[in-house]
Symmetry: C2
DNA sequence: CGAAACATAGAACACTGTTCGATGATTGCG
DNA sequence: CGCAATCATCGAACAGTGTTCTATGTTTCG
C-alpha cells in the first residue's frame, strides 16, 4: 500500500502529470493494472493520496517554523517552503487546490499558517481572509510555473534560458505603442528568477497584512 | 469556425470541463468528430482558442478601466472583472495559467494591468513582479473556487449553503487543541462569500503595492 | 467545364479508467 | 492438521477518449 502511492509519486516526479497511468504504475510495481484497485477506489483517490503524501513532507519540513519574534516571518517561511515543494513537483499544483479541506495534511498546513496569523491582532474574518489569500497566492503562482515547456528543455538549463529568451524576443517585437508595459519589463522577464518573483509578490501581500495588523 | 469555438465554450459553460469532447462537440454541430480537426490541430488548441475567446470578452468589459485618479483603483477593477469571469466559468481557471504569454488576449490583459502599474513610481523589476503577483493571485484564487461540489449542488443555492455548512461542522468537530485556528474561523468560513474573500486578499496585495510605490 | 482548394465523415487505432470473475496466497481456528 | 474465510492478484473485456487516414462530397473560379 505504501509502495503504491510512493511509486505513484515517483512516477509523477519523473515524467509528470500524464505519465501516471494505472498500467504504467502496475508495470513498475510488477503486477496487473487491476490490482491497484484493491488499494484505491479510483484515480482521483490515487491522486489525492499522492498529493497528501508529499504535503506530509512539507509538514515535516515546516515543523519548526513557528515561535519566531515576528509571526509574519514564520508565515513567509512556511509559504516559501510550500512554494518550493510545488516548484519541484509541478503536478502538485494542479491537484492541490481541489479538496483543500478534505485532504488531512493540506488542512494541517492550512492550520499551521493560521496559527501564525492568530498571533496578529486581527478579527476572525480578517485572519480567515489572510490565510486564504496566502494559500491561494502560493498555489496560484506555483501552478503558473507548472506549465512545462513545449517539449524541449527536458534536459539542461541552458536551453531553458534560450527558451525564455525567445519568449522575451517575441515580446520585444510587439508594437511599442500598443504594448508599452510588455516592452518595459521584457528585460526583467528575460532574466527573471521564479523564486524571486514569488517572494516579491508574497512580500507585497505580507506587507499589506502587516499594515492591517498594525492599524 | 467561429461556430466551433463558440459552441465549445457553450459546452464548457453548461456541463463543465469534462463535457467538452470531440464527439459531443461534433454532435452539437451536427457532424462528425473528425471534421473539427480541420479547424483545430488538437484539443489543446481547441482549449486555447476557447479560453482566448472568453478572455476577449473580459478585455471588452474592462476597456474603460483606466485613467481614474488612482491607478490602483483601476488595477483592482480589472482584477475583479477577471475574477468574475473565472467565477462564472470555473473551467477557465484551469486553462488560464498555461500559456499566458502565448494566447494573444491574455497577453493584452496582462498589458492592461501593466499599464496601470506603469503609472506608479516603480522600477521595471518591481512593476514586473507586481503585475505577475496580481495576475497569479486572481487565477490562483479563482481556480481554487473552481472545484465543483461533489455531485450535488448542481441546482438551488440552498443546497450549496448546506454543503458548506457541513464542511464547517466537520471542522468544528476537530480537536480544538490541535486545530485552534480552524475553530477560530469556522463560523467565518460557514458564512463566507467568495467574492468578498477574493477582494479582501486582493486589497492586502494592493495595500502592499501602494506602500512600495509611496516609499 | 474542370481542376484546385475547401470541407466533411466513417472507420479504425492506440490509449485511457474501470469492472468482473476467476484464481492464487495467507491466515486463523476448531 | 485441515479447511474455510479473508486477503490479494491478475487477465480479459468494456466504454470512452483523442487522433489519423482515406475517401467523398462541395465550392470557387479561371
Amino acid at each position: 500500500m505504501e509502495a503504491v502511492i510512493s511509486e505513484a509519486v515517483a512516477l509523477l516526479d519523473e515524467a509528470g502529470d500524464s505519465a501516471l497511468t494505472f498500467r504504467a504504475l502496475a508495470a513498475r510495481l510488477g503486477g496487473g493494472a487491476a490490482s491497484i484497485y484493491w488499494y484505491v477506489a479510483n484515480k482521483d483517490e490515487l491522486l489525492d493520496r499522492a498529493s497528501d503524501h508529499v504535503v506530509a513532507q512539507v509538514l515535516v519540513d515546516t515543523e519548526d517554523f513557528h515561535g519566531s519574534e515576528d509571526p509574519i516571518d514564520d508565515l513567509r517561511a512556511i509559504a516559501v517552503a510550500l512554494f518550493g515543494a510545488i516548484t519541484v513537483r509541478p503536478w502538485l499544483g494542479a491537484y492541490f487546490m481541489r479538496d483543500t479541506g478534505v485532504q488531512p495534511n493540506a488542512l494541517a498546513l492550512y492550520e499551521r499558517l493560521g496559527q501564525q496569523v492568530l498571533r496578529l491582532d486581527l478579527t476572525p474574518r480578517q485572519s480567515f481572509h489572510a490565510v486564504s489569500a496566502v494559500m491561494g497566492f502560493v498555489v496560484g503562482i506555483a501552478a503558473d510555473l507548472g506549465q512545462k515547456p513545449p517539449q524541449e528543455v527536458v534536459d539542461g538549463s541552458v536551453e531553458r534560458d534560450e527558451h525564455i529568451e525567445r519568449f522575451a524576443d517575441q515580446w520585444r517585437s510587439l508594437d511599442p505603442a500598443e504594448f508599452p508595459f510588455v516592452h518595459h519589463i521584457a528585460d526583467e522577464f528575460a532574466g527573471h528568477d521564479d523564486t524571486e518573483q514569488f517572494r516579491a509578490g508574497l512580500d507585497l501581500l505580507l506587507a499589506g497584512l502587516r499594515l492591517q495588523a498594525d492599524a
